[in-house]
């Protein structure tokens, strides 16, 4: 292969042959390009927001950045998938037996939150929120210690071990099945000293000290009981849940399944207030079946299924000798429903006279036969003291506690909820909320003062 000739430097005196054409003029130099408006970064390739341009990445840098971005997205996606799965509120199980095993597992771990979540949604709503409120009220009124842990509030430890099922289920209807527990053990241990009660409350209840009999244990061998332990489960949507109320209803009915003819179908009202008015109307008229029809089918479906059996157990129920003339309410929103509280009621007696009661600022205005008498908590205490007589002197603090208690009674309402566009009353939730409403008006040491009053009354 031949080599190109080597470059030689020009000889001295060498003149280049090219020269500009005569008369030719160079154009005037162009001005430098004007900078575009905005920060200089734009011109340099940065963003219009003024951020510095990202450093130009080499091929390797781009690869690393892409890998970091993809890794971050994958990690974030996995974390979100796990998080969304964990945050699911549905605790239902795939089968009745799995539902029982889930709640048993939570009971054994003393997991109160888990146990409440395992229940049928309607029962959970009826119990959980009022229970939470109750715990808070008891802490506020110095019954429970401020830092009380939920697991120790009951003071009850339950352990269920080696449970075995009969393998057969008893269908009550298309969405309720009863399971039979044939083997296993239940260990119960209750200890009042484990309940995180305040020292003041314990002193008020047990002025002479806590007796020895406040703790105990019990061992139950299910196989030795003579009959299986039967627990009802309910299907909601596609999931199964243990049902407290169906279990109670099944036991109360002598472990008999309801027949189709036993049902009292749910039939609600157009509004929350109307549901309560119709319930009062039905109870005054002795129409128990109408009262059952007004009960929430989400909370107490068992009551509807066993409706006619309940009617048979109640027997004949005479109408009250009054006619409901007028009712007024105040309504407040509660979780998943409304609380309806009585403002006034007017009744017509058999002789045509009218009685009306009006709740106003914690006092009761009672009108009868054209005369109105206003009774406030303090007046009611005087009336009670004069009528029944207290063997011990009521202190000022105790008197205040009674006043607050009566004020709480005036706030008691009926909880209602909506199902299928109709309004129903929720009796279980109302019952649990009753305590909260009364407790909500108590202040400071009111509970302890009331307990002191009762113990001194009983002691005398």
């Amino acid at each position: 292969m031949s080599q190109p000739p080597e470059w030689q430097p020009p000889e001295p005196g060498y003149q280049p042959q090219w020269s500009p054409p005569p008369g030719a003029q160079w154009p005037a130099p162009l001005p430098p390009p004007a900078a575009p408006p905005g920060p200089q970064w734009d011109y340099l390739g940065g963003s219009p927001t003024g951020e510095p341009p990202p450093p130009k990445k080499s091929g390797r840098g781009r690869l690393i950045a892409s890998l970091v971005a993809v890794s971050a997205l994958v990690a974030g996606g996995v974390a979100t998938y796990v998080a969304v799965s964990d945050s699911s509120t549905d605790r239902g199980a795939g089968s009745p037996e799995a539902a029982i095993r889930t709640i048993v597992g939570d009971i054994n771990k003393s997991d109160l939150i888990g146990v409440l979540n395992d229940l049928v949604p309607g029962e959970r709503t009826a119990i959980a929120a009022p229970f939470t409120d109750l715990v808070n009220q008891l802490k506020r009124t110095k019954v429970l210690q401020p830092g009380a842990a939920p697991a120790t509030i009951t003071g009850l430890q339950v352990q269920l071990k080696q449970l075995t099922f009969s393998g057969t289920t008893i269908p009550l209807n298309d969405h309720v099945q009863v399971l039979e527990l044939t083997g296993g053990t239940i260990d119960l241990s209750a200890d009042l000293e484990r309940v995180p009660l305040t020292a003041e409350f314990l002193k008020a209840i047990f002025p002479r000290g806590i007796p020895q009999s406040t703790s105990g244990t019990q061992h139950v061998d299910i196989a030795q009981q003579g009959a299986p332990l039967r627990i009802a489960t309910q299907k909601v949507g596609s999931s199964w849940y243990p049902s407290l109320f169906y279990t109670v209803a099944y036991q109360a009915a002598g472990e008999r399944a309801p027949a189709a003819g036993d049902a009292v179908p749910a039939r609600g009202a157009a509004s929350a207030e109307d549901a309560v008015k119709q319930l009062i109307d039905a109870l005054l008229a002795g129409s128990v079946d109408r009262a059952i029809a007004l009960v929430s089918p989400d909370e107490l479906p068992a009551l509807h299924d066993y409706g006619k059996k309940v009617l048979a157990a109640v027997g004949s129920y005479q109408p009250a000798p009054v006619h409901l003339e007028d009712l007024t309410f105040t309504t407040a929103d509660i979780a998943g429903g409304k609380r309806v509280t009585l403002s006034s009621i007017t009744l017509t007696n058999q002789d045509g006279s009218k009685t009306s009661v009006k709740v106003d600022a914690g006092c009761f205005s009672i009108s009868y036969d054209g005369q109105t008498k206003r009774q406030c908590p303090a007046d009611l205490i005087d009336t009670a003291t004069q009528s029944f007589g207290f063997p011990t002197k009521v202190t000022a603090a105790q008197r205040q506690a009674i006043t607050d208690l009566i004020a709480g009674l005036g706030k008691v309402g009926v909880d209602t909820s909506q199902t299928g566009g109709q309004w129903f009353v929720a009796p279980v939730r109302t019952y649990f909320d009753l305590e909260n409403e009364i407790l909500s008006q108590l202040k400071g040491n009111d509970v302890i003062e009331l307990v002191d009053l009762i113990t001194s009354f009983v002691g005398n």
Binding site: P39, Q40, W41, L44, G46, T49, G50, E51, P52, P54, A65, V68, A69, A72, L73, A75, G76, G77, V78, A79, T80, V82, A83, V84, D86, S87, S88, T89, R91, D106, K109, S110, D111, L112, I113, G114, L116, N117, P121, R124, A128, A129, F131, T132, D133, V135, N136, K139, P146, G147, A148, A149, P150, A151, I334, A335, G336
Partner: protein, 144 residues
């Protein structure tokens, strides 16, 4: 050195923030629940007030959100990443602080470990985000 400190601290903060959410936040009996399980259990049991309900509903997406911060930064949008990081840090610190304050309230017995780690991570993320946001204009002025 200082240029790399904020992103490194931010990354550490994000890892702490997300890791903390999977540590115990709620104690009931022998069971410890992470922040997502706790949120789900609480939503099933009680009716949470408006803003808290919204926070609990978006909370499971905090991991993806933090991933968005990293992606934004490595793809050359530090301001956008800083803004996302700032929001994630604020959400994390508010939720963690509220949980730590809620010790012994009603059914809730809060565990300290989860909220504390998330709070620490959130505060680091907030600092790193603010540092990134304030740094960019300084560089612009110097070059102009």
């Amino acid at each position: 050195m200082r240029r790399r400190l904020a992103p490194a601290a931010g990354a550490l903060g994000l890892i702490l923030l997300v890791t903390g959410t999977f540590l115990p936040w709620l104690r009931s009996g022998d069971v410890r629940r992470n922040s997502y399980q706790a949120g789900g259990a609480l939503r099933a049991l009680v009716d949470l007030p408006g803003l808290l309900d919204v926070a609990v509903r978006v909370w499971p997406f905090v991991g993806l959100w933090c991933a968005g911060v990293v992606v934004g930064f490595v793809l050359g949008a530090p301001r956008f990443a800083a803004l996302l990081g700032l929001l994630a840090g604020l959400l994390g610190s508010v939720v963690a602080t509220a949980t730590l304050q809620a010790r012994g309230s009603g059914l809730i017995a809060a565990s300290r470990s989860g909220p504390s780690v998330t709070l620490a991570g959130s505060l680091i993320v907030i600092s790193a985000s603010l540092s990134l946001v304030t740094r960019a204009p300084t560089l612009t002025r110097r070059r102009s």
